[in-house]
C-alpha cells in the first residue's frame, strides 16, 4: 500500500474516533433513558421502558426550574439583544483607538470565568440593596433580577459579536442615499438599518436564549433562593439520580437535531432563492465567501428516523414492561440469593477463624442503609431476605452494603459530605 493510502486510512480513523468521542457519551446517555434500571446505565440492560419520561414530567422541581429558566431566558433576550445592538452600532461610529478600548472592555465578560461574573453581580446588587434601598432582600437582591443581569453581562457580548459580523456587510451608501433624500436619522434606523439587521436580531435572540437557558456557573451564584433548570439539574445529578435526567437529555438532543434539520432546510431554501436572483442578474443579498454545494441528505435522514420509529413501534406491539420487570426482578433475586449463600459461607468461614461476630454498630448502620433502597425494583430480592434478618443480620447487612455500593456508591452523600468538610473552617 502506498504511503498516501496509509495516510488516508489514518486520517479517516482519527476522524471516526473523534466523532465517537463527541457522540458516544450522548448516545449512551440516550439509551439509559429507556432502561428500566433505577440507576442510569446500559450495562445490565433490564427492560425497555418509557416510564422515565413520565417521572420527568411529574417532577415538580424540574418543571418549576424549567419555567423559571424560560422566564430568565426571555428576560435575557430582552435585555442583552438591545444592549448588543447598541454596542455594535456605537462601535461602528467610534474612532479606531476608542473603538479598540470599548471592544476590549465589551468582550472581557466572555473571557472572565462565569463564576466571577456571578459573584460580582451578587455582591454588587446586594450592596446596592443595602445602601440605596436600606433593606435586606429588597428589590435588587432578587434571584431572577440578578440572574437576568448577570447572564446578560456576557450574553450581550455574544449578541454584539453577531451584530458586528452582520454590520461588516452593511453598505453605508444606503444610509447616505436615504439621508440625501431627506429621511431623518430615526427613519433611516427604522427603515434601513433594522430591516438589514433583522436576521442578525433573530440569531442573536436565539443565541442569547440558548446561552441563558444552559448557563450554570453564573446562575448558581445569582439565583439565590430561586432555582432554574440548570441548578435543579445540578443538585439532582449530585445527590442521587435516576434515568429521568437521561430522558430530559433525550428530549433536548431530539429538539437540537430537529432544529438543525430545520436550519439546514431554511438555509437551502435561501441559497436557492439567492441563486435564482443571481440567475436573473440581480445582486446577491449576502456575500457568501465560499458557496458549498448542498448535499446533506436531509430528506433521507428524516426518512430514516421515521422508519426507525415505525419499526420500534412495530416491535413494541406485544411488549409488556411489567412482565419484563417481574422477570428481571426474579432473575435478580436468584442472583442475589446465590450471592448471599456465597457470602454466608465466606462469613461462616471467617467467623470460625476469628471467633467473633461483626460489630453491632456497623450492623445497625448498614441495615438502615438497606431500607433506603428497599423500593428499588432491582432490590426486590433483598426484600425477601429481610425476613431472615434476625438470624443472618450481619451477613445481610454486608450484602446490602455491597449492593448499595454497587448502585449508589459514587453518588454516596457521604462522599459529598467529605468534599464539604475538606474546606477550611470558617473563622
Amino acid at each position: 500500500m502506498t504511503s498516501a493510502g496509509v495516510m488516508r486510512i489514518a486520517v479517516g480513523l482519527y476522524i471516526l474516533l473523534f466523532f465517537a468521542y463527541l457522540f458516544g457519551p450522548l448516545v449512551v446517555m440516550s439509551f439509559t433513558a429507556f432502561n428500566s434500571s433505577e440507576f442510569p446505565s446500559i450495562s445490565p440492560w433490564n427492560c425497555v421502558t418509557g416510564e422515565w419520561f413520565d417521572v420527568l414530567v411529574k417532577d415538580k422541581h424540574l418543571m418549576g426550574g424549567l419555567r423559571s429558566s424560560l422566564f430568565v431566558g426571555i428576560g435575557v433576550v430582552l435585555l442583552a439583544v438591545p444592549i448588543g445592538l447598541a454596542a455594535s452600532l456605537l462601535m461602528t461610529q467610534l474612532q479606531k483607538r476608542a473603538r479598540s478600548v470599548v471592544y476590549t472592555v465589551a468582550i472581557s465578560p466572555i473571557l472572565v470565568p462565569g463564576v466571577v461574573l456571578g459573584i460580582s453581580t451578587l455582591v454588587f446588587w446586594e450592596r446596592i440593596d443595602r445602601v440605596v434601598l436600606g433593606v435586606e432582600d429588597g428589590f435588587f437582591y432578587d434571584g431572577y433580577f440578578m440572574t437576568i443581569i448577570g447572564q446578560s453581562t456576557f450574553i450581550a457580548a455574544y449578541a454584539m459579536l453577531v451584530f458586528l459580523a452582520r454590520l461588516q456587510r452593511f453598505d453605508p451608501g444606503l444610509e447616505e442615499a436615504a439621508l440625501d433624500l431627506g429621511a431623518t436619522q430615526t427613519q433611516v434606523f427604522r427603515k434601513i438599518l433594522l430591516p438589514f439587521l433583522k436576521p442578525a436580531i433573530a440569531s442573536a435572540a436565539v443565541l442569547a436564549f440558548l446561552a441563558s437557558f444552559e448557563n450554570y456557573n453564573t446562575t448558581v451564584f445569582t439565583i439565590v433562593s430561586e432555582s432554574t433548570l440548570t441548578t435543579v439539574l445540578a443538585s439532582k445529578v449530585r445527590y442521587g439520580i435516576n434515568p429521568s435526567i437521561s430522558a430530559l437529555a433525550v428530549i433536548i438532543i431530539a429538539l437540537t437535531l430537529l432544529s438543525a434539520v430545520i436550519h439546514e432546510y431554511l438555509k437551502r431554501k435561501e441559497v436557492k432563492t439567492t441563486s435564482a436572483l443571481v440567475a436573473e442578474g440581480l445582486p446577491r443579498g449576502g456575500s457568501e465567501s465560499r458557496p458549498h454545494p448542498m448535499r446533506i441528505p436531509v430528506g433521507a435522514l428524516t426518512g430514516l428516523v421515521v422508519i426507525s420509529l415505525l419499526a420500534g413501534l412495530w416491535f413494541a406491539r406485544g411488549y409488556d414492561v411489567d412482565e419484563c420487570k417481574v422477570r428481571v426482578a426474579e432473575e435478580n433475586r436468584i442472583h442475589f440469593e446465590a450471592l448471599k449463600q456465597q457470602r454466608l459461607a465466606e462469613a461462616k468461614a471467617k467467623r470460625e477463624a476469628s471467633g467473633e461476630d461483626a460489630s453491632a454498630a456497623v450492623e445497625a448502620n448498614q441495615t438502615g442503609r438497606q431500607y433506603q433502597s428497599i423500593f428499588a425494583p432491582t432490590n426486590l430480592g433483598q426484600q425477601v431476605d429481610s425476613d431472615l434478618e434476625t438470624e443472618t443480620g450481619a451477613d445481610a447487612a454486608v450484602e446490602a452494603n455491597q449492593q448499595g455500593r454497587q448502585y449508589q456508591g459514587i453518588f454516596d452523600p457521604g462522599n459529598l459530605g467529605k468534599q464539604v468538610d475538606s474546606a477550611p473552617e470558617n473563622d
Binding site: I15, Y21, L22, F23, G24, P25, L26, S43, P82, L85, A86, A87, Q93, V102, A106, I107, L111, V112, P113, V115, V116, I119, S120, L122, V123, R127, Q185, T186, F189, L210, E214, Y216, N217, F221, T230, A234, I245, S246, A249, I252, I253, T256, S259, A260, E264, R290, H292, M294, R295, I296, G409, D412, N415, L416, Q419, V420, S422, A423, P424, E425
Partner: protein, 310 residues
C-alpha cells in the same frame, strides 16, 4: 470628546443617541466595571455581615488583607507553613486546566485543519453541523453523560470487564479520569472554531507551493499552517483555558470525592461557608491569575487581544 459627542448627536438624532449611549453605559459601567470594583472592594473587608452585623460601617469595618492571607497561610492556628488544601487545589486547578488546553489543542488542530482545508462541500458542512449539535446539550447533561460512562458501574468498566481486560472495575471518577475527559470534551468546539476560521482563510496555493518544493507534511504544518493559524490557536487556547479553570459544573459532577476544583472552594465560601469577602478574594485571585497567564501567552505568541473572539 465633547466635539465628538456633538457630532454623534447630530449624526444619530436624540432618540438613537440616548439609546446607544445609555445602553452601552448601562452595560459597561453598571454591569461590567462596577460589579468587578465592588467585588474587589468586598475582598478587602472583614466578614462582619455574618459575624456581627452591628459592626458594619463602624470603626472596625476597615480594609484588610485577612482574606488573601487566609488563602496563602490558612487560619492562625494552622500548623502548616501555608494553607495546604487551598494552595494545592489552586495550583492543581491551574495545571490541570493547562493540560486540558493542551489536550484539546492536540485533539482539535487536525480536525480543524481537515475541515478547513481537506474536506469539501457537503461533507464538510455535515461535519461542521454535527460538531455543533453536542454543544447545544446542556453542560450539566454532558457531564452527567460522562458520569454514566465512567462510573464504577459505568459503561466503560462494564465493557472492559466484559472483555476480560480488567478483573476489577476501575474507579475512574476517583482517579479524576472522568473529570479530565469531561472537561476536555466540554470545550472542544471553542478550540475548533477559532482555528477553523483562520485556517479556512489560508490560501491553498501556499500549501501547494510548499509541497511542490518538496516540503514534508510535517514541515508544511510547522512552517506554513501553524504560523498562519497562530491567532486562531491562541484564541482557542485562551477560551479553553479560561473556561476550564473557571468550570464549576463538571468538577461538581465528575470530581472525585476528595479532589476539589478551585471554583468549588469559592462556591463553598459563598454557600456553606457564608463568607462572601473571602469568596470574593479567592475569585479575584483566580481571575487575575488566569488573565495574567493569558496575557503572558499572548505576549509570547505576539497576538493582540482584539483578535480574540472574532
Amino acid at each position: 470628546m465633547l466635539g465628538w459627542l456633538r457630532w454623534f448627536m447630530a449624526r444619530n438624532g436624540i432618540a438613537l443617541s440616548v439609546y446607544m449611549l445609555g445602553a452601552v453605559a448601562l452595560w459597561v459601567i453598571v454591569m461590567i466595571v462596577l460589579p468587578q470594583l465592588f467585588m474587589l472592594d468586598f475582598s478587602f473587608r472583614h466578614n462582619w455581615q455574618q459575624i456581627d452585623p452591628s459592626k458594619m460601617g463602624g470603626p472596625e469595618d476597615v480594609y484588610t488583607f485577612v482574606n488573601y492571607h487566609f488563602l496563602a497561610y490558612g487560619s492562625p492556628n494552622n500548623p502548616d507553613p501555608f494553607n495546604v488544601v487551598d494552595v494545592t487545589v489552586f495550583f492543581r486547578t491551574i495545571i490541570a486546566a493547562v493540560f486540558v488546553t493542551i489536550f484539546d489543542l492536540a485533539l482539535c488542530y487536525p480536525i480543524a485543519y481537515y475541515l478547513a482545508q481537506v474536506a469539501r462541500g457537503g461533507k464538510a458542512r455535515l461535519l461542521v453541523l454535527s460538531l455543533i449539535i453536542p454543544f447545544w446539550v446542556n453542560e450539566l447533561l454532558r457531564a452527567f453523560a460522562f458520569r454514566i460512562l465512567f462510573g464504577e458501574e459505568g459503561t466503560i468498566n462494564a465493557i472492559l470487564v466484559g472483555l476480560g481486560l480488567l478483573s476489577e472495575p476501575i474507579d475512574f471518577v476517583r482517579e479524576d479520569v472522568a473529570l479530565y475527559a469531561g472537561l476536555g470534551y466540554a470545550y472542544i468546539l471553542l478550540m475548533i472554531f477559532p482555528i477553523y476560521n483562520v485556517v479556512e482563510s489560508l490560501d491553498k496555493n501556499q500549501i501547494e507551493a510548499a509541497r511542490d518544493m518538496g516540503a514534508s507534511w510535517l514541515r508544511i504544518h510547522r512552517r506554513v499552517v501553524i504560523p498562519f493559524a497562530k491567532p486562531g490557536i491562541t484564541s482557542g487556547c485562551t477560551m479553553v483555558f479560561m473556561l476550564s479553570a473557571g468550570a464549576l459544573a463538571a468538577p461538581q459532577i465528575l470530581g472525585g470525592p476528595s479532589s476539589l476544583w478551585f471554583t468549588q472552594i469559592i462556591y463553598q465560601w459563598f454557600n456553606t461557608g457564608s463568607n462572601w469577602p473571602r469568596g470574593s478574594a479567592y475569585a479575584i485571585v483566580l481571575m487575575l491569575t488566569c488573565v495574567l497567564l493569558v496575557l503572558v501567552l499572548m505576549k509570547i505568541f505576539k497576538v493582540k487581544i482584539g483578535e480574540i473572539g472574532r
